[in-house]
């Protein structure tokens, strides 16, 4: 890890905010996925597994914004707010110019329906927000922007992850023949 990343990781007080603006084209998402992986690995206390999970979350949010929210030639905006030792927040905004643009309330309703445990999924699409993003974040909200477009905000708390990992490791230890103190 380089010195700047170490400084960021060790700074437990100040959130680090990074905003990236992208042209509306799926080609650029591979670079954003690489960036997400590096950011989580080098500047947060989230595990390697979560670095990959955030990569998927960011990709799905951006694909949704590109496909439904912003038309060709427009832009989408991605903001990472890393609160070291506490949480990662990701905000994706579109311009509201895409063909399949919906209101925040409509998207929320679709996601709620599709994320139900017994929801049957027969389509090629529809798993991104409802399954991957919803399952791997603690907070997911959709807001209509005053000037058009949608702002999707997700947040994952480190505390939940650490307690789950601890539970898993204790459960694993319970299968062994030794006593874990």
């Amino acid at each position: 890890m380089n010195d700047i990343a170490t400084t960021i990781k060790n700074n437990k007080k100040e959130p680090i905010k990074i905003t990236i603006t992208l042209p509306t084209h799926a080609y650029f998402m591979s670079g954003i996925r690489d960036f997400t992986l590096s950011l989580i690995r080098n500047t947060s206390d989230f595990s390697e597994q979560w670095a990959y999970r955030f990569q998927s979350v960011v990709d799905e949010l951006c694909n949704n914004a590109i496909e439904h929210g912003s038309s060709a030639g427009q832009e989408i905006k991605i903001t990472f707010v890393n609160s070291p030792g506490e949480s990662i927040e990701i905000i994706v905004e579109d311009s509201g110019t895409g063909e399949g643009t919906m209101k925040a309330e409509e998207i929320q309703k679709i996601v709620d329906e599709r994320s139900k445990k017994d929801a049957e999924m027969h389509e090629i699409r529809g798993r991104g927000l409802a399954k991957i993003v919803k399952e791997w974040t603690d907070e997911l909200s959709f807001t209509d922007k005053p000037d058009g477009g949608i702002m999707v905000k997700v947040k994952k708390y480190l505390g939940d992850v650490k307690s789950q990992e601890l539970t898993q490791s204790l459960s694993f230890a319970g299968d062994q023949t030794h006593i874990v103190i």
Partner: protein, 126 residues
């Protein structure tokens, strides 16, 4: 402009003359920029082998798959299964297995650590 990804298909000797077995090897990253085009290769393969097609998807070099590629995988499975065939997955990286699990696909499609184990499962399921 698309993210690099390749799909290669190789024949596997089948234990039964009625059964076609192939290894479909994925490499690179399947994302929104390339998945529609790459998916067509698998659809063509399924169309050319309408009955008892058994596919081993080798994910050893697959680095990333998005939700749409998972949607295609589910659709391929349905088409193959309804014609007496099967799809199994082998050599999946942890991040890919994690995605398959979160969408519930591992309840539908069996995953194996090695190609040999996948071959064994296919040949003993006929």
């Amino acid at each position: 402009m698309a993210t690099p990804a390749t799909i290669t298909i190789e024949d596997v000797e089948s234990s039964s003359p009625d059964m076609t077995v192939k290894i479909v090897k994925f490499s690179g990253q399947l994302d929104e920029s390339n998945v529609d085009e790459k998916a067509n290769m698998v659809y063509e393969l399924i169309e050319k082998n309408p009955k008892n097609l058994n596919l081993i998807f080798d994910f050893a070099e697959l680095e990333y798959m998005n939700s749409k590629s998972i949607g295609y995988l589910t659709d391929w499975y349905g088409k193959v299964y309804e014609n007496g065939g099967k799809i199994v997955v082998a050599q999946t990286r942890p991040n890919i297995l994690d995605i398959l699990q979160v969408v519930g696909l591992t309840q539908l499609i069996k995953t194996f650590p090695t190609i040999d184990e996948a071959k064994f499962a296919i040949s003993h399921s006929a």
